[in-house]
């Protein structure tokens, strides 16, 4: 429940910050990059307030990260702090007054990360449109927090490392996650405040996984590939469930081939208001 409160708080803060995003004026373009220099593990934190946010793996060997930014220099400033095994990237507000109107295009941030250094990745973004491709990154953990955004996360290639936990905290957002199987995570935690959430459980499952989903107000769509064993336990208040392809046994719903499935995921769903829809994908 605290995570839900946090998601709501994040959504409220994002709504307050929206005028910042709408009043961009003096654009500044910044390009930053750093070479790999013997790192064996990295804790990467990325924060971004408003605009279009893209993350992808870099294709250049030897490059630790590369970042292109476009932002209003009157209201934001970039940061790229690298110290020890910590890398902190992004754009932060500089606390100037809010200007209303004069909404041109918003800022942008393109981030490319190395595939070759294992990392704990922490992504925080507010009122943004986010397109994240985390495929092929060596992730030992993943935390993603988003405010009022339209976000798509795709793990297009399997994670070569086993991940402890992947956490997605979604405020008021339209959020889609694809190829969650490629995360190679032991546990996936999704907390959503308000909005529509679509989770694709396709990809290459290398281990059984437990999934916790905490929904506030909104619609949730769960898309499973055929052959994946699914167990769903629902604790809800006013939430409808379209449990296509699941049979109820006791307090839980199970996929038809639960016993025979090579890989199984156990979903614990806590939803307040809204709808949950299950879709099976060939």
């Amino acid at each position: 429940m605290p995570s839900r409160v946090r998601a709501w708080t994040l959504a409220a803060a994002t709504v307050i910050a929206l005028p910042h995003a709408a009043s961009a004026q003096n654009w500044r373009n910044v390009t930053m990059s750093r070479q790999i220099s013997g790192e064996d593990h990295l804790r990467v934190q990325v924060s971004y307030g408003a605009g279009h946010f893209r993350v992808k793996p870099t294709s250049e060997a030897g490059l630790l990260y590369s970042m292109q930014l476009r932002y209003d220099e009157d209201m934001f400033e970039p940061h790229a702090d690298y110290e020890g095994d910590r890398l902190h990237l992004g754009v932060e507000g500089i606390g100037k007054s809010i200007r209303l109107g004069n909404n041109r295009s918003s800022g942008e941030m393109d981030l490319s990360l190395t595939r070759h250094v294992p990392m704990d990745l922490d992504l925080k973004f507010g009122a943004v449109r986010a397109d994240l491709d985390l495929g092929g990154l060596s992730l030992s953990s993943l935390e993603l927090s988003t405010g009022a955004s339209e976000s798509t996360v795709d793990i297009s290639e399997p994670n070569p490392m086993e991940m402890r936990t992947a956490t997605f905290e979604v405020g008021a957002a339209d959020f889609t996650a694809r190829h969650l199987g490629n995360l190679n995570a032991k546990h996936i935690d999704v907390s959503a405040g308000v909005g529509g959430v679509t989770l694709w459980f396709n990809g290459r499952w290398q281990q059984d996984t437990s999934v916790s989903i905490d929904m506030g107000l909104g619609s949730l769509e769960l898309r499973f590939p055929e052959g994946l064993g699914v167990s769903l336990t629902k604790d809800s208040f006013l939430t409808s469930l379209d449990s296509e392809g699941l049979v109820k046994r006791g307090d839980s719903y199970y996929s038809l081939d639960w016993e025979r499935a090579e890989r199984k995921i156990t979903i614990d769903l806590d939803a307040a208001f809204g709808s949950v829809k299950v879709v099976w994908v060939r």
């Binding site: 003096n26 654009w27 500044r28 390009t31 990059s33 750093r34 070479q35 909104g218």
Partner: protein, 527 residues
Amino acid sequence: MLRFGRFLSGLTLATLCLPPMLGAQERTVVSKEVAVGRSEASLRLEFSSGDPLEIALRDGSVFIDGEATGAYMSGDALDTAWRALLGEAVSLDDGALSRRLEEWTPPSDLSGDRLTLATTIDHRLEDALHGPADVATPNVSVSTSGGDDAALVKALLGHAGRLATLGEALGNVGPNLKLHVNEDVDVRAGDKIDGTLVVVQGDARISGEVDGDVVVVDGTLTLEKGGTVSGDIRLAGSTLNRDGGTVQGEVVNVEGSERDVEREMRDRVRTEIRNELRNEIRDKARSGAASSFFSPLRNVFGGLGGLIQNLVSIMVLGLVGMGVVAFAPRNLEVVADTARRAPGRAAMVGVAGTFLLIPVWVLGAIALAVSIVGIPVMIAWLPIFPLAAVAAALLGYLAVARNLGEWLGDSGYRYTDWIRKSNPVYTIVGGVAGLSIFFVVANVLRMVPFFGFFRGLLVAGGVLASVAAVMIGFGAVLLTRAGRRPEYGPIDFDDAWERSVGTEPDPDTTASTHGSSSTNEPGDPNA
């Protein structure tokens, strides 16, 4: 000892000023930051050894590692060339980046201070990219004169405080140096020196030819008639006495150039302040002149403009009222009836409704966003709800104006005889005019001097009247669901008359009245 002294003098000069010419090793760039904005174009590099290099053209000044080293103009050749370089650097990393930065040379169309500045940037880039020089094999030939080398080294070290100046003065001189310390040099007519002539703490007189640069630190350079210098003359704490002669390069006063930069920046700031002050004074003078010219008529024009504005507002609202009378007369009637019979209740509902507008709007949008079917409805909800609220307030205002118009029509005032109660358009226009009367009088008073206070009072009264009308009308609209649900039934005038004169109602009439009242809606107090 002699060999050691020669080594030291070579080392001093090599360390001071000639790294680009030395056999240095290329360094690895581990981090790059390129920032380009309207008033800034900067490059920050970090090398494998951890030391950074930052070169920034920012707000008219050139900064190298945070230190202002010169000035530029936005869009000039230096700014353009630097931005072009950064444009290429954005897509390059490590070796390719180093090579491109090293290849960069000042643009050929630069001259004077800008060229010096660009050359400094070029040297700093090359210095940083090559790293520490390999001093074991200096690729420089130094010839010295004046006593033994130990004395020369002693003299150099004795002026350690001037070494930085010497380094600055030597700048980008050629590789072949003739160094003289604490002695005067005389290049006679017919003599020729190949390479750079450097004189420290001494005077130089040139009547012959120097095929290179001449550098004088803390001394006097005299260029005689017939004397020729094929390169630059660089002076540091020195003076130049020129009696003819030819200098094919430039005469640069190194310390003076630093002062020139400061002076240039100071002059620029002073010019900007002066221009701002001048513009401000000019604007004030213009506005003052305009004010003094129009002041007798300004109030009259302003008042007339306000009156025209009032008239247009009354006309527009009257037209809207005509539309309402034409298309929704029953709704207007019901709302006006409720506003007349229960103005206090309607006002309270109106105030509460106004405060609830935004929460209802937001919560409604959220509630609709829950379901996929509701999302298209939400898209319509977002613009339609505010429009409906405005329409409701307008309908309520017109209903209250209609009531006021009726009252004015009944009042018997001389100027309201034209309001005919039988025609709701007249009553609406009359009511709107009545509600606007405060503003009209305020604009009339505006044309007359010394009535500012009363004018303010009238405007405040007009605003209060308008707000009250909107609140009452909006509340009545809410109570009657936009006039679709009457709060009160029709008045039985016969019954009211008989009750008022104290006679018993006629049974037939009463029966028929009750019969008709039974058709009233549930909850009707008359039923």
